[in-house]
Amino acid sequence: MRVISAILAVALALALEAGLGRLWPSAGRWIDPMMLPVVWFATAGSQRSGMLVGCAAGLLEGAWFRVGAFGLDGFKKTCVGYVLGGLGSRFDLDQPFGRAAAGVAAVLIDSIVNFGLLGLLDQRPAAPSVFDLLVPAGVTGGSMLLIGSVVDRFDRRRHSPGG
C-alpha cells in the first residue's frame, strides 16, 4: 500500500510539474513539485522510503525537465531523503510545522548539494541568488503545510467514529 501511494505521489508530482510548466514556464523558480513527495515520505515514513522516493522522483525529473548530467537530480533528492529521513528519526517532523520546516530544509539541502556537485563536475556553478534560494524554500514549506493539513483532516475524518 505504501509503495503504491509513493508511486502515485511521484506520478502526481510529475504531472503537476508538467502541467505547471505548460501554464507557467517559470514556475520552476518558485517551486519544485517533485520535492514534495520526497519531503512527505521522508518525514512521514522512514529514511529508506525518503531516499527511495527521492531517487525515483529525481531520476524522473532529470529525465523530463533537466539538462546536463543525468542522475544529478536523482542523487540530490536521494540526499534530501537521507538527511530529512535521518532528522525525522530524531525529531517529530510528522506534524504540520515539522513538515513545513522539512520543506524549507529540503530546498536548501538541494541547492547546497547541487552547488557542490556542479563544482565537482567542473561546471562553474553560479551561486544561487537569494530569490532562488528563499522563495522556493518558502513556497515548498508552505505547500507542505497545506498538503499536511489536508491529509491530516482527511485522516481524522476517516478514523472518526462517524466517518
Binding site: E17, P25, R29, W64, F65, V67, N114, A126, S129
Partner: protein
C-alpha cells in the same frame, strides 16, 4: 319557497319582458358585477405582469447564458486566430528558412535556476534525434538533447551550460554564446581587438555543427573587457525561448541562410 314559486310562475307567464323585481335586481347588482370585473381584470393584469416578469427573468437568464457562451466562443475564436497567425508565421519561416524541418508544439517548459529546458511533442517516431537544432521566428531556441517516441527534450540556449558558436553580424567577430542565470545571453572569448558595438546583432556562426549559420541569437546590450585581452559581450536574446509555443526542429543540416 312560496314567494319563489310565485316569481317563477310570473316569469313563465310573461317571459318576454323582465319583471320589475328582476330589473331591480339586475340594476342593483350591476355595480357589484362591475367591481368584480374590475378586480378580476386587475388581478388578471397583475398576474399577466407577474408572468411577464417571470418570463423576463427566464429570458434574462437565457440571454446571460447565451452571452457567456458567446464570450466563451469569442475567446476560443481569438485563441484560434492567434494560433492560426503563429502557425502561418511558422509555415512561412519553415518554407523560407528551414524546409527540412518538423513543426513541433511545446508540451511543457522548465525554467528553473539550475536548468532551462522544454519538452516538445515530436520524438523519434517523427525523426527527431539528439543534437538537432530547434528554432523559432528566425531565432535560436535550443538543441535536442534527449528523445523518446513522441517527445523530445530541448536544451534552451538561455541555459547556463548551453553554448552556441556566434558571430557579430556587422564585423564577423566570433565567440561562444552562453546562457546566464538572468535569462540573458553572454558572448565570451571575443578578443578585445574585435569591433563590437552596442546594438550589433549576433547570429549563429554555424561552427558548432548544430545550428546553421545566420539564425538570430540577440542584440548586444553591453560589453565588458577583461584584462587578458578578452571581452565579454552581453546579449538580449532575440526570442525568449521559454515563451515559445511552436518551434521547428531542423531535421537535416540545412544550407546556411547567410552567405559568408
Amino acid at each position: 319557497m312560496i314567494t319563489q314559486l310565485i316569481l317563477i310562475a310570473g316569469s313563465v307567464r310573461d317571459s318576454v319582458d323582465s319583471t320589475r323585481l328582476e330589473s331591480w335586481a339586475l340594476r342593483s347588482g350591476a355595480p357589484v358585477v362591475d367591481a368584480g370585473k374590475f378586480v378580476a381584470s386587475g388581478i388578471g393584469e397583475v398576474g399577466g405582469r407577474a408572468r411577464d416578469i417571470l418570463s423576463a427573468r427566464d429570458r434574462n437568464v437565457e440571454m446571460e447564458d447565451r452571452w457567456l457562451q458567446a464570450t466563451e466562443d469569442l475567446g476560443r475564436y481569438r485563441e484560434a486566430w492567434t494560433e492560426n497567425e503563429r502557425l502561418r508565421r511558422l509555415l512561412v519561416m519553415r518554407e523560407s528558412l528551414a524546409p527540412n524541418s518538423i513543426a513541433a508544439s511545446v508540451v511543457s517548459a522548465s525554467i528553473g535556476p539550475h536548468s532551462r529546458s522544454i519538452i516538445i511533442d515530436r520524438g523519434t517516431a517523427d525523426g527527431v534525434a539528439p543534437d538537432m537544432a530547434v528554432i523559432a521566428w528566425g531565432g535560436v531556441v535550443g538543441r535536442v538533447v534527449a528523445t523518446v517516441t513522441n517527445h523530445a527534450k530541448v536544451w534552451l540556449s538561455t541555459d547556463t551550460n548551453s553554448s552556441i558558436a556566434g558571430i557579430v553580424q556587422r564585423t564577423r567577430a566570433q565567440g561562444l554564446v552562453y546562457g546566464t542565470q538572468t535569462g540573458a545571453l553572454e558572448m565570451r572569448y571575443v578578443p578585445t581587438y574585435e569591433d563590437v558595438a552596442l546594438g550589433d546583432r549576433v547570429v549563429t556562426s554555424g561552427l558548432d555543427g548544430v545550428f546553421p549559420k545566420g539564425f538570430g541569437l540577440g542584440t548586444v546590450i553591453g560589453i565588458e573587457a577583461s584584462g587578458d585581452g578578452i571581452q565579454t559581450v552581453q546579449i538580449r536574446p532575440e526570442i525568449d525561448p521559454s515563451l515559445v509555443e511552436e518551434a521547428l526542429v531542423v531535421v537535416d543540416r540545412i544550407p546556411d541562410i547567410e552567405s559568408p
